[in-house]
Symmetry: C5
Subunit: 325 residues, 5 copies
Amino acid sequence: MSIVNCVEYGEGKRIGDVQLTDVSAVLADDRQSRFVWIGLHEPTEELLRQAQEEFGLHDLAVEDAHRAHQRPKLEEYGDAIFVVLRTAQRGPDGAMAFGETHLFVGPGYVVSVRHGASVPYTDVRARCESTPHLLKRGPSFVLYALMDFVVDHYFPIVDELEGDLEKLEEDIFGGNYRRETTERIYDLKRDLLALKRAVSPLIDVCNRLTRFDSSVIDTETRPYFRDVYDHVIRINETVDNLRELLNGALEANLSLISVSQNEITKKLAGWAAILALPTMVFGIYGMNFDFMPELRWWPAYPLLMAFTATACGILHWRFKKTGWL
Amino acid sequence: MSIVNCVEYGEGKRIGDVQLTDVSAVLADDRQSRFVWIGLHEPTEELLRQAQEEFGLHDLAVEDAHRAHQRPKLEEYGDAIFVVLRTAQRGPDGAMAFGETHLFVGPGYVVSVRHGASVPYTDVRARCESTPHLLKRGPSFVLYALMDFVVDHYFPIVDELEGDLEKLEEDIFGGNYRRETTERIYDLKRDLLALKRAVSPLIDVCNRLTRFDSSVIDTETRPYFRDVYDHVIRINETVDNLRELLNGALEANLSLISVSQNEITKKLAGWAAILALPTMVFGIYGMNFDFMPELRWWPAYPLLMAFTATACGILHWRFKKTGWL
Amino acid sequence: MSIVNCVEYGEGKRIGDVQLTDVSAVLADDRQSRFVWIGLHEPTEELLRQAQEEFGLHDLAVEDAHRAHQRPKLEEYGDAIFVVLRTAQRGPDGAMAFGETHLFVGPGYVVSVRHGASVPYTDVRARCESTPHLLKRGPSFVLYALMDFVVDHYFPIVDELEGDLEKLEEDIFGGNYRRETTERIYDLKRDLLALKRAVSPLIDVCNRLTRFDSSVIDTETRPYFRDVYDHVIRINETVDNLRELLNGALEANLSLISVSQNEITKKLAGWAAILALPTMVFGIYGMNFDFMPELRWWPAYPLLMAFTATACGILHWRFKKTGWL
Amino acid sequence: MSIVNCVEYGEGKRIGDVQLTDVSAVLADDRQSRFVWIGLHEPTEELLRQAQEEFGLHDLAVEDAHRAHQRPKLEEYGDAIFVVLRTAQRGPDGAMAFGETHLFVGPGYVVSVRHGASVPYTDVRARCESTPHLLKRGPSFVLYALMDFVVDHYFPIVDELEGDLEKLEEDIFGGNYRRETTERIYDLKRDLLALKRAVSPLIDVCNRLTRFDSSVIDTETRPYFRDVYDHVIRINETVDNLRELLNGALEANLSLISVSQNEITKKLAGWAAILALPTMVFGIYGMNFDFMPELRWWPAYPLLMAFTATACGILHWRFKKTGWL
Amino acid sequence: MSIVNCVEYGEGKRIGDVQLTDVSAVLADDRQSRFVWIGLHEPTEELLRQAQEEFGLHDLAVEDAHRAHQRPKLEEYGDAIFVVLRTAQRGPDGAMAFGETHLFVGPGYVVSVRHGASVPYTDVRARCESTPHLLKRGPSFVLYALMDFVVDHYFPIVDELEGDLEKLEEDIFGGNYRRETTERIYDLKRDLLALKRAVSPLIDVCNRLTRFDSSVIDTETRPYFRDVYDHVIRINETVDNLRELLNGALEANLSLISVSQNEITKKLAGWAAILALPTMVFGIYGMNFDFMPELRWWPAYPLLMAFTATACGILHWRFKKTGWL
């Protein structure tokens, strides 16, 4: 079922469940101290149309809430506001999944519509009902509570991404190159970009909510939106930080791999050069000239062997000293 | 023929075709509830001049519409506005082609001029005629419908470019290097830059349309322009995202290729070093010294062969262990 | 001679040449419908002082016009404005040369001062005289005509630079590396930076001219300055585009060169490794041991040759298959 | 104990210690010339609640001060302001540790809360008490003194980081590559990013304090906040500078290492090529053809040796000249 | 001595030297047409305090002027302004040295304080005294003259840095790599950053001076500050340009070096491969098999030599053709 909840609140307390079709009747007399909070999960188009008629929601907002492929934003339609949030979840395999939450907030109502990856807002409802002195402020406090909930769920994800980067750093500076390191860096970059795209538009959304002159947003709740704003800024900064560190890690990775590869090639070339010397010398006495007096002199062979061994030793020592080996 | 259509609308309904020369007469009495929408396709200069006289279009705007080599923009001339849009199409071979659409919108008229790669606006006309309650809002709704149509046509192109990037990523991380990968990355970069250039000026155009104080733009259509604005922002963000990922892919590609090439060179150098050892040893016993007692000792030959084989085996094992091979 | 022209205009028509010293007398009675346009080319200091006295030009502006080493700018001195433009030319060898044009525009006069690389403004004068209905608007139209002329002369240069980049791309992706490619990329970068420096300050200059509240700038000419502004923006965007593509080309160039060099080194190392094998084997039978029964067995030699040939063949085939060759 | 100090000040002089519970009584009659400064260090939640009741601090601010994981910021709650600062310390091993200081400033009180790495504010208190003519300005001067103290403690850290970079530069240009250099560059980058994150939000905080229209901030103290602002800007600029130089150092490091490695590989390849020549020549006369007249000619051997030596000498000289060696 | 000059000016003319202690008496009656210009060079604290008392300078400004480690800035204290400038000098060895100049400008006085590397302001004084019609405008003209002098001294430095870059370019594209090139590029980058840091804050300082509403800044001098502003912008642009070109040069340098190194390694590997062929062939006939009929055939030796020579020739020709050599 796509209706999750449809509850009436008054004076900061839960009054009880209502039918969607009774809402106008319920609110008819008092939209100041009472409001209805409707929670929908991937609603059918018909259901959305019903809510639209009930609260006079704007065509375009309803269309957005149905198609659910929006970027986070805040729209004003008359005295109602429409907020789009992106929710994020990270599977056990590290894959990021994004969902969307659409909020319609107007005098006397809040409609929250969940799509895709997200957790139910039961906890938010419980938290609101446990602080009647804040819930009294009406729909704008519910809006705050929902935004705070969504934004707070980004923190563990950001922490996990930080952990991923740390593991990458260990691999990189631990010195063992694996082909997958480059791919993991690329995947992390992709995740950070996706997260950034979900979070950064919220800066503007929160900022506007803290200075809104609208009857829907209680001025007393402004400091609360400023609090969400601070959280969003912090997540955003951490993501930027991670991206910059990731770029540094990528460069360090590349540099260390190529340096260590070249180091080995250099050493192999050094050993080849050392071996090339005796090979050449032995070639001399492999020649078949008739007149090679050394060949007849009996200590020539041991002397030559000693000489080449010494020469190789000296070469080895010099190569070591100048870093050629 | 360069006249595509010249239709009169009144009270949200199609009244009928009119002649371009009769337009002033038709509109003379009522420019509030009636308007004419003229659709031109690569018009002759003469035809444009005729429209100019009919509606009093500004010299510079007409010149722009004729030369058709403009960047997207919005100009106000008195109570009329002039909008330039870029249309994009992608051929089956992936080549991007751009066209231009110039829109003159004033009290009682919309003139749309198509140039280059673009699809006819018959669908837009049909959509407008099917929503009389919106068409009633006059020329500004037609402007919205045309902009929405043009912008919505960017989405499939962006999706294709995303698909191209994904194919590239598969090639890169799949490990098989092809010379063409670098060229394809470069071509994709070029396409993204061209798309960016077509889309990003629209941000400003839409933004201005949502806050316009002009008799031409019905205030009721503002939310619609905000909707186009959101789409433009989303396309723009996706393009930026793609560009950043493309840069990452380019770096990963380079890194993986050069690492794998160096890996092979390193291994070849390792094998060469292993072979250089027995070559040197065999050189010793190829020498023709008279006094080389080993040569006369019968087990020397098999022992030497066994010894060099073992030495090579040890070298091979150590090289494998330290990653030199 | 450094005076090029000194002509009086009235009611949009050319009245006739005047002497610089007679100007005040000529303008004394009517600065509304009449004005004088003086064109100077690298004037002497004395001549500039004379013009200064005639029109009350500001000390600093005259100094600038004489020293001619300014960046494009727009200055207001009382009811007069002073505009500095950079003109660009490209020699047949591709070398860029820059000149400067200084414009003093006030009630009843335009003084244009050309320095360095530039074409005479005879064409501008002819164009102005051929459109009396625009020339009627006075000095501000002349200012527009001059700016339009200067800006339009950037287009062919930008086109040539685009052509240069295309030739570079062909060279890069055509696969033949030349040392000069890097130098040409660097030179192109230098030219683009120089062009950018000449054009980008014009954005601000044009922008200010389109919103100027000054008696000198006729409000009717504002759309014309907006037109120049559009051209400047377009040139600027193209230059930015070219710079970004150039950076991509540089990277692709580097990548392709180093990949192809490493490819060859890899192949050479592969061939060396293949040749090292038989060399080692032949070394075995070059040894002079008394007890080497194979040496006495007659089919040993052809068998060995066949064996090594087969071994090399197998190596070659495997190297080809794994991409080592 | 988490209460460090709770002192009453009046007319710029220290009056004496008070109990936290007596504060309201003490301030009841005069909040203009008197104020209380309470210094807390990692306070319990209970203690914070007590202070909250005493001064009417905002819920969200108290929560922030207790959880202590904020970015530097300035919040206004009614006539009180809440400032978050980050304090930084650097251990003897170069590891950076960050702490937080939360300041509540309102009419008649300053509450400073220290968390994590930081030095006690005893020195600030002493400095304030030694300048009664400034302390007279009330809580805003204490706020300045604390901010100045925190910001001034960044300078030695920035100096140390500059010293680290200089040591890195010496290592890089001194030519001896160590694997750790890359890791140190990365760590320095990480530290600079962390420092930047602590300092850059202060620019906005100080900027707002210099233009604040609030009864808490004495207008006379504005120049003092401007002074802090200048210091923050300077630290920020230095950090940016260091980051840019660090990037340059990283590039130079990579370039120099890879160049020097390639240089060695090149030289080794050169030596191998020189040795390959005589090896080949000696191979000729190691062949066992019956008909090789040179073998019978007695000066052939010394002549050949002289010839190959000369050939190697010439090769060596040419390689040296063309930079191949 | 740290007092350089203390001179009274009136109506644009030099009146004569005064004692610092007499200044108040001298100015008592007329601060409109008269003013005193005091030039100090690294003054003692006592002297600064004396000037502070005489003119009522702000504590913080005096402290800044004494400690002298500020970034360029402009501060207002009541009706007086305080300007900090950085002066730059370049030693014969190319080392940059920076100094500071602090200017206190108020009604009736200018105090200029020089620190570190700078030239005395005798020339500025002479220039001011030679233009009485400008000096009449009072302290603000002196401020302009000093700023103009400081800024104009940046031009030769920028020109020298441009010269350094050109020499670097010649070295880079001239093709001879030296280890020092990388170090020089890094040093140049460091100098450019330092220069940028000295110049870029002046943009804001000059900008504010051109729109200042203060009794100290004569509105007639505004165009003069705009002139300084233009110079500062030009220096700033040139520095940015140089930095971008320097980055390009660094990349080109790296690319060309690594390409040329790889080129040599490639060629050496090619030669080694060519030599490896005959070495292998000669190895065949060095074998001691009893049954090798070729050894007994007299033309075998010359034929083999001819054959291998031809084979090497063909290899060489093919390697040359395919660019392997």
